[in-house]
Symmetry: none
Subunit: 217 residues, 2 copies
DNA sequence: TGCAGCTCGGGCAAATTTCCCGAGCCGGAT
DNA sequence: ATCCGGCTCGGGAAATTTGCCCGAGCTGCA
């Protein structure tokens, strides 16, 4: 329970829901060795808070579709490669998990995990180890056994993100705003995704996204 | 701050994420007058826990869309009409909100609300009042400016048929051909269906059709 | 008889989609 | 060092669709 220095582990909490954040804080701080030194409620703030507090571990909830979560991971790691980032989200799609690790995350834990598993993961990544919850391990394992060139493999990160939000019901303008892009660019991606996947209709696109686990219905 | 009996308010927490649940518990219990008497992590358990503990307020996270959250609300209310249920979720679609209230919820609060707004809402519903967070009020207000009604019941035969084919991935021309209609008419139906259901996007339409069992994915 | 609602389509301005294009960036191959 | 290819980002312009209004014929119902 205390493989860590007497000073404990400092944590930066990133989540866009205030009350959720406050809940995590209480759970983590009740552990004794975990100290939440800062909170942030979006990717931009996350980077600022990281620079300001240099925490041992960043617990990052990219709950909203990947959004700029991957970007935040890259930004933080670009600044300090020793940063330990634990992604903590309700999503469990293999694409997302691989993207997160690819971006430099040290761990990936779903919210369906037991609290004890989460704090254990935090301690693990603080020690420099890689960590993931059991369900994520299963998802990755299953995924690695299927040589199925999923349709999603032909799509870039941006394209997947936009497809996810679109399939989730978001408007073109909403997506543009969320991702800070021009409406025109989102429209172009929309078209590009359709031609890449061969979908002739928005409805087909949604079904595609659903069958690929990009969105649930 | 204490319009409630000295015994305080007993709460049943329902959320499918253990750590989130534990976080809420801590936030609520730090209030003094709120006591979490039980937790559940799915709709079925929620009903059992309600029967066993008869809490003043059920705080229910129907995180998955449609899902069985509404069913849980109905079950609980069928058993005890005086039950107070506060829906607490990250979703803010008007359809969902109306469905929740229609099923018997007393309040609807999004996770982007301040923690204080959440505990305030709990106290409100405990007093028998209706409660909702500001963002939900805005969504409902905007929505109510075009009286939509429930959902599929307001659609005519033709409309349902066209929605089914559309959600199945059919092109406007294909639908027109299949039904022997002019493209223009199909377009008009498309538009009509959107305005009737309140869907702003084709993707939302597909999701709607799917949750209504009109199409499989 | 008259109202109400579904079905079917026309019209037309506004918005979006569809393609095609170039530019910057980066990583990998030569 | 250089080129190539892919991703990202947007402009432009024609084609299409949307959004919203309209009228007409049909039904069932009061």
């Amino acid at each position: 329970m205390s493989e860590v220095a007497a000073t404990g582990i400092s944590v930066l909490l990133v989540d866009d829901h205030p009350i959720v954040r406050q809940g995590y804080r209480r759970v983590l701080e009740s552990q004794g060795d975990l100290h939440v030194v800062a909170e942030a409620d979006n990717a931009a703030e996350a980077y600022g808070a990281f620079k300001a507090h240099d925490p041992d571990v960043v617990v990052l909830d990219i709950s909203m579709p990947g959004a700029s979560g991957l970007e935040a991971i890259r930004n933080i790691r670009a600044r300090s490669p020793r940063a330990r980032i634990l992604v903590f989200t309700m999503h469990n799609e293999a694409v997302l998990v691989k993207a997160a690790f690819g971006a430099g995350a040290s761990g990936f834990v779903t919210k369906s995990s037991e609290p004890s598993a989460v704090v254990h993961a935090i301690r693990s990544v603080a020690r420099g180890e890689r960590a993931m919850s059991d369900d994520i391990a299963h998802v990755l394992a299953a995924d690695s056994l299927s040589p199925t060139g999923s349709v999603l493999d032909q799509l870039g990160e941006r394209e997947i993100e936009i497809l996810r939000q679109f399939a989730g019901g978001a408007t073109t303008e909403q997506i543009a705003t969320h991702l800070n892009l021009s409406v025109k660019t989102v429209q172009n991606y929309h078209y590009l995704i359709k031609s890449k996947t061969g979908a002739r209709t928005d409805a087909q696109l949604v079904r595609l996204a659903a069958t690929c686990g990009l969105t649930r219905i």
